[in-house]
């Protein structure tokens, strides 16, 4: 039973292969190997030759021509389709330039808007920060924990604005040519806390606005 099934399977494979061979659907290596099999198997050779002759007979099968009226009807439909689609697209050559120009103007406007926006945003941010800076500059210097984030923008101001960083260093902005003895803020701060002393070495801080440093850390 099992043997019969195997034989059937082999035969089925052969049948498909015969058609692939006859219809030139095999790749070259398959074709060579199949030709070898044909040479070795007489039955296979007879079957292939027989089917080949039958297939060749189909060449005699006639071709038919469609009636003229059908051809004309099809051509008329094709023309009508062309005309309809031409009507749909006719506005392009007439108004194409206007449409293209309006697209160009829109694109330019969008690009201009995008390039203008960031500066505008910066300006608006700056104007928001100004009052805060003003408040901080007016606020008295109290503890070392206080931080003045926006104070470094005060370069333009002539007033000395102190702030404290994380190393407990009190910094004074806008003090490029500063006379220590004439500064009441520094003197009062130094008196209030005797541990504070003037630091000349500005470790890590070389910004133009950070010239005078007072620290509570001992060197």
């Amino acid at each position: 039973m099992k043997k019969n099934n195997n034989q059937k399977k082999t035969m089925q494979v052969n049948q498909t292969e015969i058609i692939r061979f006859l219809m030139d659907e095999m790749d070259p290596s398959e074709k060579i190997s199949f030709e070898k099999r044909i040479r070795l198997n007489q039955d296979l050779l007879i079957e292939v030759e027989s089917l080949k002759k039958t297939w060749e007979k189909t060449n005699a099968y006639p071709s038919f021509e469609s009636p003229e009226r059908v051809k004309e009807a099809i051509f008329a439909k094709a023309e009508a389709s062309i005309t309809a689609s031409s009507k749909n697209w006719n506005w392009i050559p007439q108004h194409g330039f206007k449409v293209a120009a309006s697209f160009l103007v829109m694109a330019t406007a969008i690009i201009a808007w995008n390039t203008w926006m960031p500066t505008n945003q910066l300006e608006s941010t700056g104007s928001l920060n100004t009052p805060i800076d003003g408040q901080q500059s007016n606020a008295p210097l109290t503890t070392a924990k206080d931080s003045g984030i926006g104070s470094d923008v005060n370069e333009t101001n002539n007033e000395i604005t102190p702030w404290v960083d994380h190393n407990h260093i009190i910094r004074f902005a806008g003090t490029t040519d500063f006379n220590l003895s004439q500064s009441p803020e520094i003197n009062s701060t130094s008196h209030q806390n005797s541990k504070l002393r003037l630091v000349n070495d500005q470790t890590g801080y070389t910004g133009q606005s950070r010239k005078i440093l007072l620290t509570g850390n001992t060197p």
Binding site: M23, K57, A78, E79, S81, I92, G96
Partner: protein, 231 residues
């Protein structure tokens, strides 16, 4: 007439640029028979070139019609289905045809579907053989395409062969006939035949195998009956 600026709008890739050159050449030489199917399809779709459509149509018209005719075996029905097929082709080419594949394979799929739909509907009412022209039909030779000048005896022999083949192929089951005709007329690969008929490649190969075995049997039967007549 569409301007060149308009054409440039559509020509996005290299293929379309190639087609633009074709467009230029069509203006100088009206003969489109040397163009490939793809080029003709492009010219018809994008340039609305009616001559391109006619060239494409004339290239395959006989094969498509013959396929439909061999399936339905009736002139009127074949003409209707042929016209329906091209109506769909024109409509789809205008809208959503994908230019990547083979045009003829796409058209054959439409023709095959139209034919199969008809055969299914027809089976519900009448047996197809009763509505077919059959071998007795007197206009058989009129529909057969003219294949050049031959003398009378050659014409007779050829027509006899054709008639015999027509008779045998008409006897094949539809699905086997479809595979044989698609291969015979369109020379489609079995992959394409499988796609058109909606089966696997192995099934298509199997159908061809059964078709050839059946045809061989019909020829043998015919020979036998001729021998019997002679004796």
């Amino acid at each position: 007439m569409i301007s060149h600026a308009h054409v440039i709008l559509f020509c996005a890739d290299a293929y379309h640029f190639k087609c633009m050159n074709i467009h230029k050449s069509t203006q100088s030489t009206p003969n489109r028979s040397s163009f490939s199917d793809k080029e003709l399809v492009y010219l018809y779709r994008r340039e609305h070139d009616m001559e391109a459509f006619k060239t494409l149509f004339n290239r395959y018209e006989s094969k498509i019609y013959s396929y439909i005719y061999s399936m339905v075996l009736n002139t009127e029905t074949a003409s209707d289905l042929f016209q329906d097929t091209f109506t769909k082709v024109i409509m789809k080419m205008e809208k959503n045809y994908n230019e990547e594949g083979k045009w003829i394979a796409w058209v054959m799929r439409i023709a095959h579907n139209a034919t199969i739909d008809y055969l299914r509907r027809a089976k519900k009412f009448v047996h197809i053989s009763s509505s077919s022209d059959g071998e007795e039909n007197t206009d058989f030779f009129h529909r057969v395409a003219d294949e050049g000048a031959l003398d009378a005896s050659q014409v007779y022999v050829q027509h006899e062969d054709k008639k015999r083949m027509y008779k045998h192929i008409s006897r094949l089951p539809e699905e086997q006939r479809a595979v044989v005709m698609l291969r015979h007329y369109e020379e489609l690969s079995f992959k394409e035949i499988a796609e058109i008929t909606g089966v696997s490649i192995n099934t298509a190969l199997g159908r061809m195998r059964y078709a050839l075995t059946n045809l061989r049997k019909y020829f043998e039967e015919e020979q036998q009956s001729e021998k019997n007549h002679a004796s």
